[in-house]
C-alpha cells in the first residue's frame, strides 16, 4: 500500500525505557536471559484503581500505552481504534483453561474468559475514552499489527482525520515453555548484546505494546510519515527481493528484524544483499514476538524525530549513519509473515 500518513504521537511499553524516556538519553537495558520482559510503568495515573485490580498484565499494558499515546498526540477523541495482537491475553486464557479443569466446569469466574477475548483491550480503550467510532482487532501472528496499519491507512484514505493504531503482546512463563518445545528459543542463555554474534537455532522472546495516532495530514507535531507498507505471506526469495528493491531502493537506513535465529537467517542475509545500506537491528531491544513490527515502527519514528541514533542502544553496530531521512523496516515472523514498512522524516 502506498498511501502516506503521519505519526502525530506515539507511546511504547517495551523491555527498554521507552515509556517515559527520550531515546537519545534513556539508558540501554542489557539482558542476560532469553526472555525479555517489559519495564512496566506505574499504571495508577492512567487507570482507576478499581478497574486496575481486575485487569491482567497485557490489558494494563495495552490500555496504558494507548492512553499515553493519545495524551502525547493532543487529540481529543481516539477516532477509529485499530489494533493487532498475536496472542491477546495469554494470562487470562491460561487461567480460564485451568479453572475449567480445577473447578470441574462449575462456579467459574467469567472475568478471565472476558479478558481472554482478543478485542478486550480495544473495548477498554473505547470505554475509557468514549470512542464510539470504528473498532477492529487483527490476530494474525506477524501480520497482526501490520494489518491494523493497513486498515488504518484505508480509514484515513476514506476520510477519517486520525486513527489510534497499536499492538499489545505478552509472554508468560508457561507460553515461553510451550514454544520452547518446538525450538523457538535459544537453548543456552544469550545476552541481548551478543544476540547477533553467532546465528544459532532459536532466538530470544519478547513482548511489548506500541500505539500511534496516525493522521492523514501533516501537522507541525508530526513525528514521521509512513509512506509504504507491504505484507508478504511465505514469499519466494525473488518476490521478497523485488518488494525490498521497490520499497527500499532509495532508503538511507535499514531496520532489520534479524533475531539471531539461524533457521530463518537467510531472509535477513537477502535483505543485506538487495539493500546494501547502513543497517541496525532491533530485536536485541524488544525480543521476538508477533507484533515486534510495531516496536520497529516506534523505533524508526523516534530515531527520525531525534535525528540521530544513540550509539549505546546499538553496541554491536560498528558504524552508525549520521544522517538519514528514509528508513525501510523489514521483518518476518519465523519465516512466514514478512512485512516491509517505509518511514520518512518530516518537519525538517
Amino acid at each position: 500500500m502506498k498511501v502516506k500518513c503521519y505519526i502525530q504521537g506515539m507511546a511504547a511499553i517495551s523491555p527498554q525505557h521507552t515509556f517515559d524516556g527520550d531515546i537519545t538519553t534513556a539508558p540501554f537495558v542489557q539482558t542476560e536471559s532469553n526472555r525479555l520482559v517489559c519495564i512496566e510503568p506505574d499504571y495508577k495515573p492512567f487507570i482507576p484503581g478499581n478497574s486496575l485490580r481486575r485487569m491482567t498484565r497485557v490489558l494494563r499494558m495495552g490500555l496504558t500505552t494507548a492512553l499515553k499515546c493519545l495524551a502525547n498526540s493532543g487529540v481529543a477523541t481516539p477516532g477509529p481504534i485499530v489494533t493487532g495482537t498475536g496472542k491477546g491475553s495469554l494470562q487470562d486464557t491460561e487461567k480460564f483453561i485451568k479453572e475449567i479443569e480445577q473447578y470441574k466446569e462449575t462456579a467459574l469466574n467469567p472475568t478471565p474468559f472476558i479478558q481472554s477475548t482478543y478485542n478486550s483491550v480495544n473495548g477498554l480503550i473505547a470505554l475509557q475514552q468514549n470512542g464510539t467510532d470504528y473498532n477492529n482487532t487483527f490476530v494474525h501472528r506477524g501480520f497482526s499489527f501490520e494489518n491494523a496499519l493497513v486498515d488504518s491507512m484505508m480509514l484515513l484514505q476514506e476520510g477519517a482525520s486520525h486513527t489510534l493504531t497499536g499492538s499489545f503482546e505478552e509472554m508468560t512463563e508457561e507460553h515461553f515453555y510451550i514454544k520452547s518445545r518446538i525450538g523457538q528459543w535459544r537453548t543456552a542463555p544469550v545476552g541481548n548484546t551478543r544476540l547477533f554474534e553467532q546465528h544459532l537455532p532459536g532466538t530470544i522472546s519478547g513482548e511489548g505494546s506500541a500505539f500511534f495516532v496516525l493522521t492523514a495530514e501533516q501537522t507541525p507535531a508530526s513525528k514521521a510519515a509512513i509512506s509504504g507498507i507491504k505484507l508478504l505471506y511465505k514469499p519466494s526469495e525473488e518476490r521478497l527481493s523485488a518488494v525490498l528493491q521497490e520499497l527500499g531502493a532509495d532508503a538511507d537506513l535499514v531496520i532489520s528484524g534479524d533475531n539471531g535465529d539461524s533457521n530463518y537467517a537467510r531472509y535477513y542475509e537477502l535483505l543485506g544483499e538487495v539493500l546494501p545500506k547502513p543497517a541496525i537491528p532491533f530485536k536485541h531491544l524488544c525480543g521476538e514476538y508477533d507484533t515486534a513490527g510495531s516496536f520497529a515502527l516506534w523505533l524508526a519514528a523516534a530515531l527520525l524525530d531525534a535525528g540521530k541514533i544513540p550509539g549505546e542502544w546499538f553496541p554491536m553496530v560498528k558504524e552508525l549513519p549520521g544522517e538519514f531521512r528514509k528508513v525501510v523496516i523489514y521483518n518476518h515472523f519465523f519465516g512466514e509473515q514478512h512485512t516491509v514498512m517505509v518511514v520518512e522524516k518530516v518537519n525538517g
Binding site: 500500500m1 481504534i81 498475536g86 496472542k87 491477546g88 486464557t93 480460564f96 483453561i97 475449567i100 479443569e101 470441574k104 466446569e105 462449575t106 467459574l108 469466574n109 467469567p110 474468559f113 472476558i114 481472554s116 477475548t117 482478543y118 478485542n119 478486550s120 480495544n122 473495548g123 477498554l124 473505547a126 470505554l127 475514552q129 468514549n130 470512542g131 464510539t132 467510532d133 470504528y134 473498532n135 477492529n136 482487532t137 487483527f138 490476530v139 494474525h140 501472528r141 501480520f143 497482526s144 494489518n147 493497513v150 486498515d151 484505508m154 484514505q157 476514506e158 508457561e174 515453555y177 510451550i178 514454544k179 518445545r181 518446538i182 505484507l231 505471506y233 511465505k234 512466514e336 509473515q337
Partner: protein, 393 residues
C-alpha cells in the same frame, strides 16, 4: 458454508425452509454439560470433515480449520474458481478462539515436560492465524492474509475489511468469512456469564433466558463490480453498505437503548443509499440473551419507528456461531434475496414487554426482498451491520 443445519448452502436453505433446527446435544465436546446445554453442532466428526475437505487425515488440522476448509472448498467451487493464482485474491478470515477445540484437549500435556508425542504438532493451533494459514495453504491463497477477532462480530468485520480493500483498489477479488468450532472453553465462558439457555434459545421472546452456542464456517467471494463483469461472474448479490461502530458502554453488555446497534444499522443503511422503507428483511443478531434482544429491539424501534420491517433471528437454527455468525448470516441474507423468502424466528411465543415488535415466526415466501440488514454484535462493544442488496446492475 457448513452449520448445524447443513454441510453446504443448499442443505442450509433446505432446513431453513423446513423450519428444522440444528440444536441438540454435543457428541464431540467433553463437558459435564453434554446433556444439559443444547448446542448447534455440525454432526460430522473430524474424520468425516477431513473427507469432506478432500484431504488426508493429518496432525495439526483443528476442527476449526476443517470446518473452514469444507466451507472454503464450496465457496471457491460455487464461484467457479479452480486456480486462485489466476487473479490475485486476498483471504480475510475470522475466529474467536482459533483451534482451542483441539488445544484444550492437549493443553495440560503441552505444559507438562514429562509428556511428549504427536500432540506437539498442534502447538500452533492455540492462535487464530493457524486455521487461516492452513486453509490458505491447502487451497492456495498466497496474497494478503488477515485474521480478525472482534468476538461475535468478527466475520462481519472480515467482510467489511475485504470490501474496503477492493474499494481501495488493492485487490479485485477477496474471500472473506469466518470459522468457529464448539469448545469447552467458550461453552464454559458463556455459561459462567449466565447467559446460556438450557432450552432451545428463544430470541425476542419474553421468556428467553440466553443463547445456545453453535459451530460452523462460511465464506463469501467478493469481487469488484468491474472485475465481476469482465470475468463473467454470476453476481449473487451486492454488499451495498456496512458499518462498524463501538458502543463504549460495557465490556460484555450492550446499552439498554441499543446505541451501538442503532448507529451501526443507520450508518450502514446510509452508505447503501437505501431508505428505511426499502429494507424488506432484517436478519437480527438475536442471540436471545436478556440484554441483546432488548438492546437490539430498541434500536430497531428507534430507527424504523412503527414501521419495523419483518425481522428474525436464525440463531435457533444454527446456535450462535460467534466469529462465523456474520458470514453465515450474510449468506442467509443472500438466500433471502435470491429466493424471495423470509426465515422464521423459531421458538417465539410471547412478545417482550419492553418492545412493541415481534419477529416473523413463519416462513414467508414470494415476498420481494431487495435489501437485507444483517446484524452482528459482540463483546467489547463491537457492533457491525451489513446491508446486502439485490444486484441491479
Amino acid at each position: 458454508m457448513v452449520t448445524a443445519i447443513g454441510d453446504n448452502v443448499a442443505g442450509n436453505l433446505e432446513r431453513l425452509r423446513r423450519k428444522e433446527s440444528g440444536l441438540g446435544f454435543t457428541d464431540y465436546i467433553n463437558t459435564i454439560y453434554k446433556e444439559v446445554l443444547p448446542v448447534g453442532e455440525v454432526k460430522q466428526d473430524n474424520a468425516a470433515l477431513f473427507r469432506m475437505a478432500g484431504i488426508p487425515v493429518q496432525a495439526g488440522f483443528s476442527r476449526t480449520t476443517l470446518l473452514g476448509l469444507v466451507a472454503m472448498q464450496e465457496a471457491l467451487q460455487q464461484a467457479g474458481i479452480s486456480h486462485l493464482q489466476d487473479e490475485p485474491t486476498g483471504f480475510i478470515n475470522a475466529s474467536t478462539v482459533g483451534g482451542m477445540c483441539d488445544t484444550e484437549k492437549v493443553y495440560f500435556d503441552l505444559i507438562n515436560p514429562d509428556k511428549s508425542g504427536e500432540f506437539i504438532q498442534s502447538i500452533h493451533t492455540l492462535d487464530c492465524a493457524d486455521c487461516t494459514q492452513r486453509i490458505a495453504d491447502t487451497v492456495g491463497f498466497t496474497e494478503h492474509l488477515a485474521t480478525i477477532s472482534t468476538a461475535c462480530s468478527s466475520s462481519a468485520n472480515a467482510l467489511m475489511f475485504g470490501a474496503r480493500m477492493i474499494k481501495a483498489g488493492m485487490y479485485r477479488r477477496m474471500v472473506c468469512g469466518g470459522t468457529e468450532a464448539l469448545t469447552r472453553f467458550t461453552l464454559n465462558g458463556f455459561n459462567s456469564l449466565k447467559n446460556v439457555d438450557r432450552q432451545f434459545c428463544r430470541p425476542f421472546d419474553q421468556q428467553r433466558t440466553g443463547l445456545n452456542l453453535g459451530e460452523g464456517a462460511a465464506y463469501l467471494v467478493l469481487e469488484s463490480e468491474s472485475y465481476a463483469k469482465a470475468n463473467n461472474s454470476t453476481i449473487l448479490a451486492e454488499l451495498t453498505g456496512y458499518c462498524n461502530t463501538n458502543e463504549a458502554f460495557h465490556p460484555t453488555s450492550p446499552s439498554p437503548e441499543g446505541d451501538g446497534a442503532y448507529a451501526a444499522m443507520k450508518n450502514a443503511l446510509a452508505m447503501s443509499g437505501r431508505t428505511l422503507e426499502e429494507v424488506q428483511y432484517i436478519n437480527v443478531h438475536g442471540t436471545a440473551t436478556l440484554n441483546n434482544d432488548i438492546s437490539e429491539g430498541r434500536a430497531l424501534e428507534r430507527l424504523f419507528g412503527t414501521a419495523v420491517p419483518p425481522f428474525s433471528s436464525t440463531k435457533p437454527f444454527t446456535g450462535h456461531t460467534l466469529a462465523a455468525a456474520g458470514a453465515i448470516e450474510a449468506i442467509y441474507a443472500v438466500l433471502a434475496i435470491r429466493n424471495n423468502i423470509i426465515f422464521p424466528n423459531l421458538n417465539f411465543s410471547e412478545r417482550m414487554e419492553e418492545l412493541q415488535i415481534v419477529p416473523e415466526t413463519e416462513l414467508k415466501e414470494d415476498v420481494i426482498i431487495n435489501n437485507v440488514i444483517s446484524n452482528s454484535f459482540g463483546f467489547g462493544g463491537n457492533n457491525a451491520s451489513l446491508v446486502i442488496s439485490k444486484y441491479e446492475g
